[in-house]
Symmetry: C2
Subunit: 256 residues, 2 copies
């Protein structure tokens, strides 16, 4: 991997997005906090903008109102003519595309950090579009070096030939932070503190990059989706099985 | 406490209710299972009826659609003239009152067991209306004796002078089972197995009672609500504090 991440220009337009899913509370609470007190997002060379991505879902404490906002940033949704019957999240994706994009344009934000939680015991997961986002890969490596004692895995979400669809795909570069386990609608202080520290470290990395710091080449392990495995289900679609009690939460415990 | 619980007659009409809150998955999944395979709810002297209390909230995997069903069983809601604009849960409360009640009538079910989860680390909590429900108190004592190694606390929810409002208040006697911690919308196998065992033990107790078994007098510890303590909040109502990370989940760990 190259020793200095692209793009060559300093990053000035940076956003930190919470509440893309309205019941993932680390990002919801941090975005609300930074909207009142944005000083924590300032660095000498830039000031990151806090964004509450899905206010309606956040108010309802639901993942989304009509459809998943984090799947709505496709060209089909973003370029279609607006209609009063459009799903709320499609309308909101267009608004965010105006604010942070337009996607794939020179006017798009330089970097978007998108904050998520999961009920899965996966610790910290860094979700990038693909390894072609070299800046995001260097940021992932930097974050892993900050807390080597914690599991911090890199997941590359884009499948071959698939169009990007996430909030952070609107920007020139971006990364999702996925922290778990945390129940939906519940705020755990440990994950809140971890998310806050990760965001601070990411902004510090951008500051280092803007100062002209050189970052050495590296190799890193990353995960891709191989397949989806659903729970066993009945003919009517109800659950017919659960995670075995001896395995539940063990992913987290084993790796810590 | 009297050595033989009231009422003096055998209990024939018994219901086990899940999904009163649509995202508390132990009861949702058990009710769905028993609706397909009710044999597990049969005892020699009676067959308990499985009920999915809030199908719309269960389908949406939400606590409720319009208002909390488990607060809707008041005489004001149950006796008001039906109106097309009534909240879904008020309409549903009237339907359940027809099925399991009418509340405070001789036709009401003998016993209703209502299955809940909480995200709080409280282990097993048995929620009764008041200590005046002597049958429920004897059942609580029986359940505590079944698994003395597990925390199994009794909570009396009714405040002095307050009208009962829960699903199980429709029956002549009833009890809520509240198991945690479990994230909303998530099914943990350990809590599912615990809930299933508690229901089986409760039905076994009713069978023993119906056979004429005498139950010795006892004393028991029970909890009442003293006051509500909200999280600290900002002027706009947002959270301004969380449970301390060193305290989170410790309630459960300390008592196990």
């Amino acid at each position: 991997m190259c020793s200095r991440p692209e793009p060559p220009e300093p990053l000035r337009r940076v956003a930190v997005v919470g509440g893309t899913h309205g019941n993932e509370m680390s990002g919801v609470c941090l975005a609300r906090y930074w909207l009142r007190a944005p000083g924590e997002l300032q660095r000498p060379s830039f000031s990151a903008v806090p964004v509450l991505a899905n206010p309606a879902a956040t108010a309802a404490c639901r993942r989304y109102v009509d459809c998943d906002l984090n799947r709505a940033f496709t060209s089909a949704f973003l370029t279609a003519r607006a209609h009063p019957d459009d799903p709320y999240e499609v309308t909101r994706a267009r608004e965010l595309n105006q604010l942070l994009g337009p996607k794939a344009s020179g006017q798009a934000f330089d970097f978007v950090l998108d904050l998520h939680n999961t009920t899965a015991s996966m610790g910290t997961c860094l979700v990038a579009e693909s390894s072609h986002d070299v800046f995001a890969m260097h940021l992932c490596h930097h974050l892993q070096l900050q807390s080597p004692e914690l599991p911090c895995r890199v997941f590359l979400y884009q499948l071959p030939g698939e169009e990007s669809y996430s909030v952070h795909s609107v920007a020139k570069s971006g990364l999702g932070l996925e922290l778990g386990p945390q129940p939906q609608g519940v705020l755990r202080a440990d994950l809140l503190a971890r998310m806050r520290a990760l965001v601070a470290a990411a902004l510090d990395f951008i500051q280092l990059f803007n100062q002209g710091t050189a970052f050495p080449a590296f190799e890193m392990e990353a995960y891709r989706k191989v397949s989806s495995v659903d729970f066993p289900r009945t003919e009517t679609g109800d659950l017919a099985g659960t995670v075995h009690p001896q395995l539940q939460t063990q992913g987290q415990l084993a790796s810590r």
